[in-house]
């Protein structure tokens, strides 16, 4: 029976650069199209229709039209991207970089600033 069949593999491996990275000092660029984390790209264009919240399978998104707020519970979000696909105003985006670890539960709140009053034409 052949012994040390792995020797060839080990020699190659020793001559090569390490296969691992010094994470977190050295980070890998996420591939295009990776689902890392959900971000609110532009709250200014949001019309607070609430479709993202209804479509969310884990109910991680809460949209309050009266307060003009959009809230995300990141610990509930499963990064499926349903909300990004459905958003009629294209306000939501999926970033390739994943969210970092948490030390405390927190709801991310985005508030739309009141639009400046239209200037008086007269």
């Amino acid at each position: 029976m052949p012994h040390l069949v792995i020797a060839k593999l080990l020699t190659k491996s020793a001559a090569r650069k390490p296969s691992t990275r010094l994470y977190p000092a050295e980070k890998r660029a996420p591939p295009k199209g990776a689902r890392g984390r959900l971000v609110m790209k532009q709250i200014e264009t949001c019309v607070f229709c609430g479709v993202c919240g209804k479509k969310c399978p884990t109910r991680a998104i809460a949209v309050k039209r009266t307060d003009k707020t959009w809230e995300l519970d990141r610990l509930k979000c499963i990064v499926c991207g349903e909300c990004v696909e459905i958003c009629p105003k294209d306000c939501l985006a999926m970033e390739g970089e994943h969210a970092t670890a948490f030390v405390a539960k927190k709801i991310e709140t985005h508030v739309q600033k009141p639009k400046p009053a239209a200037s008086d034409p007269t």
Partner: protein
């Protein structure tokens, strides 16, 4: 007859990735009987079908297992699609096959690593996982997720893979196959690996059939049954045959998995060559009504999905018979008469996935 002692094995044990408990009844160094207890990680996922929308359930079905995730969601979606009499686009079927074969390769590579670790060959474990890591990158590039793909939905798939990405993935897979070939050679030829696996934990063909073994455990005992022969998705259009080994020992089960990885590489190439342009999903009409059993081949064996709908958006009943559950009786049989030191390797050769088995 020597004095009998009971040695508890698990639920926390260095070789066990997940918790299962076995009471090993010993006579000196020989195992006389193994008494299992399961139920450490029951999560009640099947019950959630009664509360969740049937389309959202695809995400939960995928989370039954962290390794064979894609095929779980595919099985669930196939069962619902059959109830709705929904014909899904050909392109979606091909993409499902490509992703499920990627999932099979990554599961088998994970298993190879864990087994190498179980018999103390740590560098082989590292190399298996090094190759697996590159495959996970490919999965992420094509589906968006690394382990939880999140692309299967009722009515098709959620994401299309463009021709350029597919071409790059095929190139990367070819390079990966060459790297994997070196690792496969170690598993199939090295003397130290053979010594730990050859002639250990033999499951004869008749016992494999009688005890209801599935997947590589069944095929390692020489029974040529693979649920992909039911020709679900587009497996009927691809050229392949179930892989079998006759010996029925740990080495045979390992060889089945090693050869299945090569077969999966081939199936991905075939599917990518035959894939046609077109839509990847169709609209879902109404709610499911009636009962259906869907059977698929997971990396660990045949999985059975039972769904019962009553015309509302929530299912009335959702039940999964997972391959590990079916492979537990054969495991108890092969543990009888083995040495205590062989127990970890034997337990691993059925590829136990306890979160699947308990859901």
């Amino acid at each position: 007859m020597g004095q009998r002692t009971i040695i508890p094995f698990g639920p926390q044990h260095p070789v066990l990735p997940e918790p299962i408990h076995l009471d090993l009844v010993m006579e000196d160094e020989k195992v006389v009987e193994a008494i299992p207890s399961i139920g450490f990680i029951h999560r009640g996922l099947e019950k959630m079908a009664e509360k969740k929308d049937f389309q959202e359930m695809a995400y939960i079905a995928e989370r039954i297992c962290g390794i064979c995730s894609f095929i779980h969601s595919m099985g669930y979606c196939q069962a619902i699609e059959a109830l709705l009499k929904l014909e899904i686009p050909k392109r979606a079927e091909y993409l499902r096959v490509i992703w499920s074969e990627m999932s099979r390769i990554h599961s088998h590579l994970l298993w190879l690593g864990l087994t190498a670790d179980a018999f103390g060959f740590e560098s082989l474990f590292m190399h298996s996982w090094r190759v697996r890591e590159k495959l996970l990158d490919l999965i992420e590039e094509t589906s968006g997720g690394r382990v939880i793909f999140g692309v299967c939905k009722v009515g098709g798939v959620r994401r299309d893979v463009d021709a350029e990405t597919l071409r790059r993935a095929l190139e990367a897979l070819a390079a990966l196959e060459a790297e994997y070939r070196e690792i496969a050679g170690v598993f199939s030829r090295d003397a130290s690996v053979k010594r730990r696996m050859t002639g250990i934990g033999v499951l004869p063909k008749e016992d494999a059939r009688a005890l209801g073994a599935v997947g590589p455990t069944l095929r390692g005992s020489g029974v040529a049954w693979d649920a992909r022969r039911l020709q679900y998705a587009v497996y009927g259009e691809l050229d392949w045959a179930p892989i079998t080994e006759e010996a029925g020992d740990c080495q045979a089960r390992c060889l089945v998995r090693i050869r299945e990885i090569f077969q999966s590489f081939d199936l991905i190439r075939q599917a990518a060559g035959k894939i046609s342009d077109g839509p990847v999903a169709v609209k879902v009409p109404g709610n499911p009504r009636g009962e259906y059993f869907a059977r698929l081949e997971q990396p660990r064996g045949e999985v059975v999905y039972y769904v019962k709908g009553n015309g509302t958006k929530n299912l009335q009943r959702f039940r999964v018979r997972t391959p590990t559950f079916a492979n537990l009786p054969p495991l108890l049989k092969i543990l009888q008469g083995c040495e205590l030191s062989d127990v970890p390797v034997i337990v691993l050769t059925i590829d136990p996935c306890i979160s699947c088995a308990e859901r």
